[in-house]
């Protein structure tokens, strides 16, 4: 046998930073050999991924070395969309941007619309936008999953997603709804693996049995858009059988709070005392007492009269609503595409595990009323849900229904259930309200985004006109907590509610897969007015790669790759905390850029200084933050609270609170790029009501005072909006929206048919059409990655196998015409048996525009890949009432891209690809013809 060196050197050096191949934020060990990135593996010590790494993470080398990387600032020379640019210097780029932006700031700051895409620095970018003074700022949450986020916050002060996680260690039954892949990419896989190893059970509810649903022990192939109905039917069954956690409901939720049930303006509002405290009925005395009175057992049913009004506990209203036979399994089965017996059995299984397999931890704790409990009782049933339920026009109420289900089972924030991750839980009242108060030449009057509690919190001017370009926080989308990025371009193009001057985007491929109705968006971006000027006069865009959107911008600020930049994954923003610990992390340049590029946040520091934005200049007018790293260390949001929580204080010994520490970044680097601080044992569960948790949160700087709260099974804020729609109060919606809002803003979750379905002839368009990202590309920055694109570079439309032959398709590469009420595309098809019979689906964002991403114009992504986006409209089909209604959730404005209805037919022979595009010029050239990555590490005779 040959003499084999089984102990060769691995690399010259390891540098530890944070991955950015998706939003998961895993810790990575970046190996460098001869100064080049030679291997990336998961950081074993890192709280998020504990050493594992997904396909995206491991392919980071190819992303880092992508030929699509932008090399210098670019100024457009050809028409928009041509891809023709000239390279300019950063000074020229800043001068141009300042020339456009400075006059806006002085006269009309709202004429800048600044929207960031998959931005992980929103607390920074929003600060910049606030300092500029424009109300028009948000990230991409509006078309991502705001229904999930908002429903969670309003119901229980946090959602699935990044806000919490199943108790992977202890849960015995996990039910996932509409989960394809998620932000918590690796933690979910690790958790499922942990559950599988323990023999715990997973139920997958999804029209498509792929990915996580493929390994689920049971698959419920639900019909899209009906999850809410299914969940309410489960609730119906549980209530009917008394399988609910009454102790939990009485103690930790507003179930006992007394609700006015008289028709009229006060219907649905809580009975409050003079201090404004909601009242509950003391079971012992039958008298109302404030909800936070210690040692009271409240009644959950009954009624009382006060000042001519009748009040009932919220729980009774809930029970009356859901015991209605319309939620019986038989009544919903056909609509949901689930057998009644399956619904019944699922409810029984949930109840069995929650109540018969109860777990207890012998950890004493003290609640917010000062009552001590000797143990923590756990209901080992956990839920997780994602866009499959939220990207529908009934997604907000569906997500809320799911939260109510887990609350009724008593499984939120208990051992074995769903657990929050700091800075959550956080009551809706503790979140800010949205702001849009513009003063030319001055900052905005407060943070852009927030959680309205009443119609008075909406961002409307005296005439009721929306203040924001995306019409967020208007009656069209009252609780649009993440803004409505998907409406910006169409509203700006239409000049509705007003025209803008400059569209400033970061990391958002709005000219392609991040827009609905892509073809029309491209028209809007390139449309000119009568004088021949572009309707949207200026577009500034920052991206690291030559994406489709680059071609449509006038000025490009080239970003770095994730291995070349500073970043903070901050507690002020969307940190990497776990249920048991607070944590944040950084990115730092483990390799220096070899191009004339700059981290976007550093560019904003420069630009902010040139514009003289408060907070970005010193008192003498000089630039305040040299770059983003400087900001990360020295910015203080509140005294002692900065972007990074670790190693604060002049001595670097403090956590959470403390003065800026000039060596903070070095400390992070020494520690592997992250900071991690465990929550004390007695504070790890029951967090909203746990005094020890509240005190810890104050200590660490999450809050400035303890902020315990109750879960909202009855949502009073929603009722306040519903009440306005009924014609009560100062701020009321326009008449055409009243009926819809009265229906949608229900204080108890309910189910209604998705709007697109109602507006569409479902006999003509019989199929639901869905998309999901493949795990190896989820939330990843383009598919031009040389390794990943070999796995997936062409997508097919999967059609239920039983229906496949009916359309005349044979095995192979048949082409179909796919038509929605909004358009038609061609798509290659393939059969799938493990699929809801009324549903077709495809991998999303595989199709690329010819010439983008430094790919050859005849790349399969351009020639065979397709986007369903062309079939989706941000508006519903015309109803004949003279209005075009938004294709979005009426509560949050979340884009309802999963409501899409289509028909398919076999394409006649010779049908050309539709739509098709001329190739755009590539401002970065093309990639190499071959790759043999690693050769250069081996060629040196010394190794």
């Amino acid at each position: 046998m040959p003499d084999l060196d089984t102990s060769p050197p691995v690399s010259d050096e390891i540098r530890k930073t944070t991955c950015y191949m998706c939003a998961c934020r895993c810790g990575i060990d970046v190996h460098l050999t001869k100064g080049q990135v030679s291997y990336i593996e998961g950081n074993r010590d890192h709280p998020v991924n504990r050493g594992v790494l997904c396909a995206k993470g491991s392919s980071g080398i190819m992303q880092h070395l992508s030929p699509a990387r932008l090399r210098a600032p670019l100024k457009r020379t050809g028409p928009r969309g041509s891809g023709e640019f000239e390279e300019i210097t950063w000074d020229e780029a800043y001068n141009l941007a300042t020339k456009w932006l400075a006059p806006l700031r002085e006269k009309a700051p709202e004429k800048l619309a600044f929207f960031t895409g998959r931005d992980q620095s929103q607390s920074f970018t929003s600060l910049w936008a606030q300092a500029f003074g424009t109300p028009n700022y948000a990230a991409h949450g509006g078309f991502c999953s705001v229904n999930m986020a908002a429903a969670g916050i309003y119901t229980m002060g946090g959602a699935f997603w990044e806000f919490g996680q199943p108790d992977w260690e202890r849960t015995k039954l996990l039910m996932i709804f509409g989960v394809a892949e998620d932000h918590d990419s690796n933690p979910i896989k690790m958790g499922l693996g942990q559950m599988k190893a323990r023999g715990a059970k997973v139920i997958g509810v999804n029209p498509v049995r792929s990915g996580y649903n493929a390994i689920a022990d049971q698959w419920i192939g639900i019909t899209p858009g009906t999850d809410g109905l299914f969940i309410l039917s489960l609730i119906h069954e549980l209530l009917k059988a008394g399988k609910i956690d009454l102790t939990y409901l009485a103690r930790y939720t507003n179930a006992a709070q007394l609700v006015n049930v008289n028709d009229g303006p006060d219907y649905g509002l809580f009975l409050r005392d003079a201090d404004g405290k909601a009242q509950i009925l003391d079971r012992a005395t039958g008298k109302p007492v404030p909800f936070d009175t210690p040692a009271v057992t409240p009644d959950l049913a009954g009624h009382m009269r006060r000042a001519g009004s009748t009040y009932k506990p919220a729980f009774q209203l809930l029970a009356e609503a859901y015991l209605d036979p319309k939620y019986a399994p038989e009544a919903v089965a056909e609509r949901c595409g689930i057998d009644a017996s399956t619904i019944r059995a699922t409810a029984a299984e949930l109840a069995r595990v929650a109540f018969d397999e109860e777990i207890t931890l012998d950890i004493p704790w003290t609640d917010w009323k000062g009552e001590r409990h000797e143990k923590m009782t756990g209901r080992p049933v956990a839920f997780h849900a994602m866009r499959g339920i939220s990207a529908h026009s009934n997604g907000f109420q569906t997500a809320r229904a799911l939260h109510i289900l887990q609350i009724l089972l008593g499984s939120v924030e208990v051992p074995g259930g769903f657990r929050f991750k700091p800075p959550y839980p956080k009551a809706p009242e503790k979140h800010p309200r949205p702001h849009a108060g513009v003063t030319p030449g001055a900052p905005l009057d407060g943070p852009h985004l927030g959680y309205p509690l009443a119609p008075e919190d909406l961002l409307l001017d005296a005439n009721g006109t929306p203040k924001r370009i995306d019409k967020a926080f208007s009656w069209e989308a009252p609780l649009s907590a993440h803004g409505l990025m998907h409406m910006v371009i169409s509203n700006a193009h239409a000049g509705d509610p007003y025209k803008i001057d400059t569209l400033f985007l970061y990391m958002a491929n709005m000219a392609w897969n991040s827009s609905m109705n892509t073809s029309r968006v491209i028209e809007m971006l390139t449309d000119r007015d009568d004088s021949g000027d572009y309707v949207i006069p200026h577009i500034i865009y920052s991206d690291a790669y030559s994406s489709e959107m680059v071609a449509y911008a006038d000025l490009i600020l080239p970003d770095t790759t994730y291995l070349e930049r500073h970043d903070c994954i901050s507690l002020l923003d969307r940190p990497i905390c776990e249920a048991d610990a607070a944590a944040d992390s950084i990115r730092w340049p483990v390799v220096e850029p070899d191009r004339d590029v700059k981290g976007f946040q550093s560019a904003l520091c420069d630009l902010g200084a040139r514009l003289g934005l408060p907070g970005f200049v010193n008192e003498d007018g000089s630039q305040k933050y040299a770059d983003y790293a400087d900001y990360m260390v020295n910015h203080e949001r509140r005294p002692g609270i900065g972007p990074l929580a670790g190693w604060r204080g002049e001595d670097g010994e403090s956590e959470g609170r403390g003065a800026p520490n000039p060596t903070q970044i070095e400390k992070y680097i020494e520690n592997g790029g992250f900071w991690h601080s465990e929550i004390p044992e007695e504070a790890r569960f029951m967090k909203p009501w746990n005094a020890a948790y509240q005190d810890w949160a104050v200590k660490i700087g999450l809050f400035d005072a303890p902020a315990p709260y109750l879960f909202n099974i009855w949502s009073e804020p929603l009722r306040r909006f519903q009440r306005a729609a009924e014609g009560f109060g100062r701020t009321q919606p326009p008449d055409h929206l009243r009926a819809r809002l009265k229906m949608a803003m229900s204080p108890l979750p309910h189910w209604y048919e998705p709007f697109e379905e109602t507006a569409t002839d479902t006999a003509e368009y019989p199929l639901h059409a869905l998309t999901q990202r493949p795990m190896h590309m989820y939330h990843s920055w383009g598919s031009q990655n040389a390794w990943l694109r070999q796995i997936t570079n062409t997508n097919r439309l999967y059609i239920p196998a039983a229906e496949y032959a009916k359309y005349g398709f044979a095995e192979g590469d048949d082409l179909a015409l796919v038509t929605s009420p909004h358009g038609q595309i061609t798509a290659r098809v393939a059969p799938m048996a493990a699929l809801n019979p009324h549903t077709v689906w495809t991998w999303n964002a595989i199709g690329k525009k010819p010439g983008a991403w430094a790919l050859a114009p005849d790349a399969p992504e351009a020639k065979k890949g397709f986007l369903l986006n062309h079939l989706i409209n941000e508006l519903l089909p015309p109803k004949g009432d003279g209005r075009r209604w938004a294709n979005s959730d009426p509560v949050t404005g979340q884009a309802a891209w999963f409501d899409l209805r289509v028909k398919i037919e076999k394409a006649p022979k010779g049908t050309a690809q539709t739509p098709s595009w001329p190739a755009q010029a590539s401002p970065v050239g093309r990639g190499p013809e071959t790759l043999a990555y690693g050769q250069s590490f081996k060629s040196d005779p010394s190794t």
């Binding site: 594992v52 396909a55 049971q218 209530l239 102790t247």
Partner: protein, 242 residues
Amino acid sequence: MTTLPDHTEKKLGLAIDLDTCVGCQACVISCKEWNTGHYGAPLSDTDPYGADPSGTFLNRVHSYESQPETGPAQLTHFPKSCLHCEDAPCVTVCPTGASYKRTEDGIVLVNEDDCMGCGLCAWACPYGARELDALAGVMKKCTLCVDRIYNDNIPEQDRIPSCVRTCPANARHFGDFADPNSNVSRLKAERGGIALMPEQGTKPVNTYLPPRAKSAPTGALTPVAEEPKGFLAWLDRALEAL
């Protein structure tokens, strides 16, 4: 030497859990990443940004759809790499002696200095586990990360194949099948690990833990009442009992 050893001291290999693999492709890329920079020639890619991208990978994940007699169809993600067979036909057919099976641990390797790129070993392998590199012209295959598992430059707990270390769902297990008490032997016994294409007589070392039987609960809850009124009466009793 392309005759097979009569006996190997260890039988190192993988237990791949088809009940847990979610098809995320992490192992595929981690393998590519490690091996393009380490053992032997790089794993090259041709036309990586063009119309027909194609490259060498040592591990690939297929997915299959199976239709049981009753119940819905099932999807299984199926990672596949060299199975390090005891009777490895790829070794014995090799004319140059490049292919060999190590006596100490049973790992099947290609000594690239001897390989003439005839491809016969790939023809002899029933599993499609060997790929001829288009640029280097030598046969590439899974080495079970032989340059990691004994590597003193790597922390001890990481002396496992790159694919195993990276697998987020923990669906890949590495160990010695010759030791009945090893993690992989126990998993194989407990979960009924199977050999792929046993009829080929290759005696693969790697084992596949088949998907567990899917289940659908039956049964239903017993109502406490049929009417809201009855429910409220139950509620009153239940609250009294708290």
